[in-house]
Subunit: 210 residues, 2 copies
Amino acid sequence: MSDEMGLFEAMYNCRAMRRLDTREVPEEDLVKLVDAANQAPSGSNMQGARWLIVRDPEQRQRLADLNRRGVEAYIGPQTGRPDALPHQSADKRARMLKSVVWQMEHMHELPALIIACMEFGQPVDAATMARGGGSIWPGIQNLLLAARALGLGATPTTLALGDREAVAGVLNLPDTMGAFCLIPVGYPLGRFGPVTRRPIDEVMRFDRWS
Amino acid sequence: MSDEMGLFEAMYNCRAMRRLDTREVPEEDLVKLVDAANQAPSGSNMQGARWLIVRDPEQRQRLADLNRRGVEAYIGPQTGRPDALPHQSADKRARMLKSVVWQMEHMHELPALIIACMEFGQPVDAATMARGGGSIWPGIQNLLLAARALGLGATPTTLALGDREAVAGVLNLPDTMGAFCLIPVGYPLGRFGPVTRRPIDEVMRFDRWS
């Protein structure tokens, strides 16, 4: 695999790509994403992460409907308030919200929606879900990096999954499984490029915070 | 960066390395780890992740003491029960527990302890922490992969951080910051190698779970 993309190159150029082409993605590549996700560590090595690749058009439509409800609830209170998402410039915020709306309008057409779930081995409630984050998000990050290396856009959203019962109904999840995020995957319409982040001096200290 | 480690090579060979040498790690490399972590995505691009690199001997001793308390509480109920961690073979479980105990005994001597924190912009409680996972663990995974590429061992543990007030006291965290995990970093005493995970057929489905 010596001709594969370098690790740091993938990490530093993994922009959130929400605008995706409707063109189909080879199943082999979708499975590569999940296989990469499956290599990530988990608490006590429990390996509870589970992955659904949704391509069936009716299933995508159902998930797109759930996402629309979540996005409208998220966007509603923000668009009217000039102080919403204050950590970002007005310009950047507006662009992010536009791309979230684009994703909402087109989600049913996107080639694959990958759902990151966790099998807890016991009935899931909010407290269970709260404990699961450290065992599912490392795998999601592996998946995003793998997508970048394969030239695929992939940006997770949790907005579709707020109604846990409705999600479990659409995906036939047993009551021991919870869904953490939905990741639309496809060929990007825009260009990849470097991410912009806070300078390291703002986010790092030695020995103690203050 | 064409001579850097490939993305998939790093992901598939990123074993949990708990036994580490006491040899110092160049500051430049520790900063590279945090810089890689800082590139990861976060919910609504809030970029609340914060990173502490602890090298001061007294600070490491304090964290090692907190970790010992957490490990003893974790290990205590498991060692006596043959059905503990049932997802793993008895042999594998015994090896993992031995390495957790090794880490406990040696934590104060390890060259650097990196603490992954989140700045929430409001006082932290358990509910706040539960919401933060998706914005901190992708960065932690970037850090682990970067460590692998630099030949460093790094395995996160949450056992040191159960007593939130004590941790905040040691690290001088404001009440708006929470600590999610502690990652000892150093040159591994063992050898890197491929991870072993459940077969993909067990963890992946198309369209619906059942």
